[in-house]
């Protein structure tokens, strides 16, 4: 296959790369302590020392954004991993076993899908408690059904393909067939879903934090920074602009990357080149 320079792929990778780098660095080092108040430097506009300004407690906004990136990206990553893992395992079972197993699982999935993801996560959070792991579990459960549906839908036609029957005639176990033949052929659509889901989860996490149901203060996330900036909208607009910009940039980057991946991994468009 010839490599085609692809602006979507390039821009998407650059944006995602920046955010990922910020999150990685933010985990170990930030210019200032993101939690420690410094009342001498409250609500400062961006300058050479405080690149993105300071908030109402005098904390450096850049440090908080970097630290928040670690939290936000970390939560999104764990959530996607959880949803993908559970959804894939259940989807493989439902799609491969079919029959009543499939029917019962699809009933539950449809029930879960009937709630808007956000609402479901809110309800679950109320039960699980508003903390990092609560968010991961709540969003993981909320997003798992779409993975399940996708994997099941991919498995259904795959299991009727002749190479699956061929493998069975060779005497291979069903377990072997699922891992050797079915699962690898699901990777394409799964990767595409995982990328776009990362974006949704990031947005959902920010929304939850914005609503005050996310990671408890003083730990920063982009969502609660945005929420906290509201009273100072007129005096210190940078406080809301930069976290908001981060969220939109990440979403844009991930969507571009997802589109590009879809083009690359889709066997039908690939065959046409």
């Amino acid at each position: 296959m010839k490599f085609k320079p692809n602006t979507n792929l390039l821009l998407g990778s650059v944006l995602c790369g920046i955010i990922l780098l910020a999150a990685l660095v933010g985990a170990f080092w930030t210019p200032f302590d993101p939690m420690k108040p410094d009342f001498a430097h409250r609500l400062l506009a961006p300058d050479a020392t405080y690149w993105l300004g300071t908030d109402e407690f005098g904390r450096d906004a850049l440090s908080r954004i970097m630290y928040g990136a670690t939290t936000s990206v970390g939560i999104s990553f764990m959530t996607v991993a959880m949803a993908m893992f559970a959804g894939t395992v259940l989807g493989l079972i439902a799609g491969y076993a079919r029959g009543w197993v499939d029917r019962i699982m699809m009933c539950f999935t449809d029930a879960l899908l009937a709630f808007p993801g956000m609402l479901l996560a809110l309800g679950l959070l109320a039960v699980l408690g508003a903390n990092k792991y609560g968010i991961v579990v709540a969003l993981g459960i909320a997003y798992m059904p779409s993975v399940l549906r996708l994997v099941r839908g991919t498995v259904l036609p795959l299991r009727e393909r002749e190479f699956v029957h061929a493998s069975r005639v060779m005497g291979n176990s069903e377990f072997f067939i699922v891992f050797r033949h079915i699962l690898p052929n699901c990777f394409g659509p799964m990767m595409v879903l995982a990328t776009s889901m990362f974006g949704w989860v990031l947005l959902a996490e920010s929304s939850l934090s914005f609503l005050g149901l996310g990671v408890p203060p003083p730990a920063p996330t982009w969502g609660n920074m945005l929420a906290g900036s509201r009273p100072f909208m007129t005096q210190a607009s940078w406080l809301g602009i930069f976290p908001g910009l981060c969220i939109s940039m990440t979403l844009l980057g991930i969507n571009l990357l997802g589109d590009a991946l879809q083009d690359k991994l889709d066997p039908y468009s690939r065959g046409k080149e």
Partner: protein, 557 residues
């Protein structure tokens, strides 16, 4: 008087828009009024593109680079959109390959037939209705009045193709383009539809451009024949001349690739059968919700079959006859409802200790080489997988065996072992599939339509490879096929299936020369045979002539 042909294609050149790669290269031919012209060629020969270009219906990726197409003296290539629309349908009709998708499922037959007439004629609704009814009766649809209000899914494939034909012929076109019109149909239906097409076009004086890969069929029904290879016309002329005295090597190759009956082989039918079935019944369960269930369908009604050592038993029948179900049941891919399966005289079932052994000794070759190889595995991995469960085989022995197999199927390991299936052609893939099935040196192979998806010349090579390997290793084989010509070449014994039952079984020569059951006779009379004559040419004849008491050895002119 100035004579003009109905269709005159001169120096037509079609190329891929992007790469300027020619796909139809400088072809010139004519179709006279009322004559039937066949274009034959293998896939990729450009025969369909040529036909589409006549109506300016070539796909958007294809561009006409040069050449003229004159229809009735008018240049199609310079026609305006309006003129084109007036020509399509009204003067040139087209019948496509797939009857299941060429009729709109959401429109009644009546509306679909009326569509063209309403567009191209000034007749009143009542007159159109009368014409439509007449045509439906003509094509053998009972109760034409009622069928006007019926949707396409009520009709079988053959019937739909008749309706499609009726819709096109209602317009009384001067030219009918038929692109593989019967390829998707069963043999018996195929003959009916083709004969209807020939009759209708004769009656109306319509010329036909018949595109097909099926040389005997084209030879049987056409006045003139055009042979295409790689976008070029290699030979054209009167059908009788071309098949009797082919000049171009490719035409000769095509003709010599047609299956021929070999000498009957000596099979020891007293030895213990390798595989034996007793009264096998398979029911497909009905579909339904949690609380209601439809009644199931009985696919096999008690099948008794034995396959002897070194024997090739062919299972023939139309679609839905249960031949594939039987093959898959014997291979253990489908559960039988009742009945017994014995391997080398030992009754076996899934739970018995002999089952694992049977799994090793019974292998399968599938129909579609594009679907039977996992696209994510290299050829070596694919072959290694089938050797994975062989006891006491280490990596070195396994790799040695893989190289050996690839050599046997004519695909040297150095060149092909690390490739992925998508880098191989259909024929090469089927070689791999055969190699994979034979890699464990099985005693018994189920081959489910192994050559049906392949072109004529490739099919001949694969059949030869299969026969050679069968001779060499002496495995028994259940060969499932709808293609009687292929069966005639490979089978020692033939079992004919209809509606889940075996209606006739016997040695190949007995079944082909003295068919007893009416269904067998019908099957044999549906497929023309090209046979070599004493003078070195080829002629067509039906395999079985119903009105001929001498069981069909009579030639037709």
């Amino acid at each position: 008087m100035n004579h003009t042909s109905l269709l005159e294609v001169s120096s037509l050149q079609l190329e891929v828009r992007q790469s300027a790669k020619p796909v139809v290269d400088n072809i010139t031919f004519t179709v006279e009024r009322g004559e039937i012209v066949g274009i034959v060629g293998e896939s990729g020969s450009g025969k369909s593109l040529t036909a589409r270009a006549v109506m300016r219906l070539e796909p958007p990726a294809i561009r006409r680079a040069a050449g003229r197409i004159l229809f009735d003296g008018q240049d199609v290539t310079t026609m305006s959109g309006k003129a084109l629309r007036q020509m399509r349908g009204a003067k040139v009709g087209m019948v496509f390959q797939e009857p299941m998708t060429s009729l709109n499922p959401s429109m009644t037959i009546g509306r679909q037939l009326d569509e063209g007439l309403a567009l191209h004629s000034k007749l009143s609704a009542a007159q159109r209705r009368e014409l439509t009814l007449k045509m439906l009766t003509r094509i053998g649809i009972q109760n034409a009045e009622k069928s006007l209000a019926v949707y396409p899914h009520h009709f079988s494939g053959g019937m739909r193709q008749r309706i499609m034909l009726a819709a096109v012929m209602l317009m009384r076109p001067a030219l009918l383009i038929a692109d593989e019109p019967t390829t998707a149909l069963d043999a018996i239906v195929q003959r009916d539809v083709l004969e209807l097409m020939v009759e209708l076009t004769r009656e109306q004086g319509t010329a036909v451009l018949l595109i097909s890969h099926d040389l005997p069929m084209v030879a049987r029904y056409t006045d003139r024949i055009i042979v295409m290879e790689h976008g070029r016309i290699v030979e054209q002329g009167a059908t009788a001349d071309v098949i009797a005295r082919p000049e171009h090597p490719y035409t000769r190759k095509l003709l010599s690739s047609l299956p021929v009956r070999g000498p009957a082989r000596d099979i020891d039918r007293k030895a213990t059968p390798v595989v034996q079935t007793r009264d096998i019944v398979v029911d497909y369960p009905g579909r339904g919700g949690l609380f209601s269930k439809d009644a199931g369908v009985r696919a096999l009604h008690g099948i008794d079959l034995e396959i002897h050592p070194r024997e090739v038993l062919a299972l023939v029948g139309g679609s839905g006859s249960g031949k594939t179900t039987l093959g898959w049941t014997i291979a253990g891919l489908l559960k039988k409802t009742s009945g017994q399966l014995a391997f080398s005289g030992e009754p076996i079932q899934r739970s018995s200790p002999g089952w694992r052994q049977y799994r090793h000794e019974c292998q399968m070759v599938f129909q579609d080489p594009y679907s039977s190889l996992d696209p994510r595995m290299t050829i070596r991995q694919l072959l290694a997988e089938s050797l994975r469960t062989v006891p006491q085989m280490d990596d070195r022995a396994r790799n040695r065996r893989i190289d050996e197999i690839l050599d046997e199927v004519g695909m040297p390991a150095q060149e092909y072992a690390e490739r992925y299936p998508h880098a191989l052609s259909g024929g090469q893939r089927q070689r791999i599939a055969i190699g994979r099935a034979l890699s464990r040196r099985p005693k018994f192979v189920v081959a489910d339509e192994p050559v049906s998806a392949l072109d004529v010349t490739v099919r001949a090579q694969i059949l030869k490879l299969f026969s050679d390997l069968q001779q060499h290793y002496g495995f028994s084989c259940l060969f499932i096929s709808h293609d009687l010509a292929v069966v005639e070449q490979v089978a020692d014994r033939v079992a004919v299936m209809q509606n889940g039952r075996i209606v006739e079984a016997g040695t190949r020569d007995a079944v082909f020369d003295h068919p007893r059951h009416t269904y067998t006779r019908k099957l044999l009379s549906a497929i023309p045979l090209l046979e070599t004559t004493a003078t070195g040419g080829v002629q067509t004849r039906w395999r079985f002539q119903p009105d001929d008491p001498a069981t069909g050895a009579e030639h037709e002119d």
